[in-house]
Structures are given as structure tokens and as C-alpha cells.
Amino acid sequence: MTRHHPDSLSLMEYSAGNLSEPHALCIRLHLDQCPHCRSRVDTLNSLGAVMMDQQPKVTVSDNSFDQLMARIDAAPADASPVAKTPRMSPLQKLLGQDINDLPWKRQLGDVSVLDISEKFPGQSERVVLQKLVAGGKAPAHTHRGNETTIVLQGAFADQKGVFNQWDFVVLNEQDEHKPVAVGCEDCITLSVLSAPLKLTGTFTRLLNPFMR
């Protein structure tokens, strides 16, 4: 059972479709596992529908509907109903393999990382997977900028509490912590680091949420 949820403002930005792709992925992964937040997003989507209804309307061109029907008639394959098939988890699709078998790069002590930013071309954030071995400790560290993290496997604990699978955490400069992987599984997290553009070079290491 997840206990740490995204806040309402983030869910609103998600509902409005304004989040960057990596941030949307974090929210989406949480939503898949959290009926409570799904219900909040449903309400926010309704807010979007009501806003759209209350704004001005713009007449479409005269032949717009005819064009639409012509398209439907001309390309039955294109316009055929979509099947209700179970979709692969977005994470599985993105990584293409089990999360434990990824080419992890051991960084220091109990921490391994894998930068997957290149999966999100055109996005300014860095997207990093981190693994803390079961029972392992990360050195005390702070964070630069805002870091949005979702726990994908296992759990970690710091002075603020225990963060279990699918829990959602946002950390910033003020948050110094010393996470420990609890439970018998390696703790794997996905973090999105909103990066000030002036930082370059050693930046990935500096922004690693588990350590720097």
C-alpha cells in the first residue's frame, strides 16, 4: 500500500498535460498502483472538461465533418475499433528487460546507477535509475534542484520515514538524508532531476539522489 502520494498541484499539471515526459512517467507509474490518486486525477480530468466547455467555441470549417467521415470510410483499417488488450507496463516497455538485469554501473559502496536520460530525447531533465543493495546504506547527502523519485522495487528508509514500492517522493536542497535499503530486496528507484542548465560535466554524479 503506497502511503506517499504526489501532491494535488502535480496531479493537476499531469491532468492538464503540462508535465515533462519523465515526470509524467513517474506519476503514471504511481497511478497504476494507486486507486486513490486515480480517483483524484479523474476529478481533475473532469475539471479540464468543464473548463473546455466554459471557454469560447470556434466554428469548424463547413466540410470538416464530411472530411472526417470520408476518412473513416476510406481507411477502415485506420478507423477500426481499438481492441481492449492488456498493455505492457510503460516501464517494461521503456527498459525492455527486467529491472534487476540492467547494465547497472556500480558507483560507490552499495549504490549503483543507470542514466536513462537518452530515452527521453528533447527533455531537459536527467532521468536516473538507482539501486541500493538490500540492507545497504547510501552516504549522507543533499540534493540540487527538485528531485522527483518513485520507488520501483523494495523500500528505503530515512529520517522522514519508510518509502515502499510505488511511493512518491520529492526532495530539494533542504533535504539532507541518509537512505538505507530496508527489506530483503534491492531498492530500485527512478528519479527525475530538474537540472539548472548551467551545471555540466560531473553533473550526473553530483545530482545522484542517493549520494554525491
Partner: protein, 215 residues
């Protein structure tokens, strides 16, 4: 930024909703008229129903596209949304979302999708738009809480009319102009904190964050 909610929220009482088969008359009474039309499209490819939906929603969608800075692609967005409505209508379940909510999410996804495709080749898209922004009810087999959802749209409409203009302005910019809270703050030349507190006040009134506080 983080909202901590005790696990008791799972027990929040939601009135169980009976299925259509059990109480057809009662259930029919709760359908919104657009949902009825959408079902006709889904079940029978009913073109008259589809046309009625087009007449009502296409002008909204066109404005949505224009206000989102896609003026030169506005007609295209309307077309794409309606193709998607035609194809997906068989998946629409009126008990899971009001028709207008469902159409809004399709429009939002289509807008994101068009922008993504303009910016890069599809080969580069490791994740599809719908992996990131889901359409409610599409692949969910969870208990239906339709009364709650249909009510919430009516409730939002009513509450919205009582909100001060400054709060509605901020929400409209977020939803209709694709602006982040930071961009709204820059445009209105007010602090980010003010934007956030206006949104929070509005969401509070709209009961979006009700559950955060009550459990």
C-alpha cells in the same frame, strides 16, 4: 510537496454502483446525454449520434487547440480527436467517466501526441503518449464508482461558478494554455507561491484535495 495520507483512505466509503443489468431504469437516469450518444457510436457505429457529438464538441476542441498555440493545426487536432473517439468509443464506459471528461482526456493526449511527433521521429519515441497519459477506464478492471464521478463533474460546474475570477484565470491558463504554474506566475507577474495558493484554494473548493485532508 509530498502529501502523506494514511492507509485508511482505502476504506473511504464509495457507494457501490449496481450494474446496468440489475437496475436498467435507475441506471439510465444517471447517464449524461453525451454518454448515451457515445455508447451508440461504440455499439452501432451510429453516425447520427457521432454527428451530434461532433456538433457539440468540435468547436470546443478547436478553441482548445488554438488556445494551446496550435492555431495552424487546430482543424487537424479536431479531426484526430474525432478519429480517436470513433475508434475508442467501443471502450467507453459511462459508469467510469462522463463523456466530456473522456473526450477531454483524448484531446489532451492527442495534443501531446501531435506535439511530440512534430518534434521528433516516431523511431525516437521509446514511450508512447498513452503510456504516459492514460485514458481513464480504458484498461482498468476496478470497481466502478460512477455516481461519484458523474456527480463530481456536476459539482465542479457548480463550485466553479462560485470561485473568484483570479482563481479561474489561473486554472484556465493551466488547462487551456498548456502553462505550468511557473509560466502562469511569470505571465501574470505574481509570485509562484501566489499562483500555487490560488490553485490550492480552488482545488480545495472543488474538493479535489478533500481526501488529502479528511483521512
Amino acid at each position: 510537496m509530498m502529501t502523506v495520507i494514511s492507509s485508511t483512505h482505502a476504506t473511504v466509503k464509495e457507494r457501490p454502483v449496481t450494474t446496468l443489468d440489475q437496475q436498467p431504469a435507475k441506471a439510465e437516469g444517471r447517464k449524461d446525454p453525451w454518454g448515451v450518444l457515445l455508447e451508440k457510436v461504440g455499439k452501432h457505429q451510429d453516425r447520427a449520434a457521432y454527428h451530434a457529438l461532433f456538433e457539440h464538441f468540435a468547436p470546443q476542441l478547436k478553441y482548445y487547440a488554438i488556445s494551446n498555440g496550435m492555431a495552424s493545426h487546430a482543424e487537424e487536432l479536431v479531426q484526430e480527436v474525432f478519429i480517436s473517439i470513433w475508434r475508442r468509443s467501443c471502450l467507453y464506459d459511462w459508469r467510469k467517466a462522463a463523456a466530456s471528461t473522456w473526450i477531454f482526456t483524448i484531446a489532451r493526449n492527442q495534443r501531446i501526441d501531435m506535439l511530440r511527433k512534430m518534434q521528433r521521429t516516431s523511431a525516437e519515441m521509446a514511450v508512447e503518449t498513452e503510456d504516459l497519459w492514460q485514458i481513464p477506464g480504458d484498461n482498468e478492471d476496478e470497481p466502478v464508482t460512477s455516481l461519484h464521478r458523474l456527480m463530481s463533474e456536476r459539482r465542479i460546474r457548480e463550485s466553479l461558478s462560485q470561485l473568484p475570477e483570479e482563481q479561474i484565470t489561473v486554472i484556465a491558463k493551466v488547462y487551456m494554455e498548456h502553462k505550468s504554474h511557473q509560466m502562469v506566475a511569470d505571465e501574470l507577474q505574481i509570485p509562484l507561491g501566489t499562483v500555487k495558493s490560488r490553485v490550492r484554494l480552488a482545488l480545495n473548493k472543488l474538493k479535489v484535495i478533500l481526501q488529502d485532508q479528511n483521512v
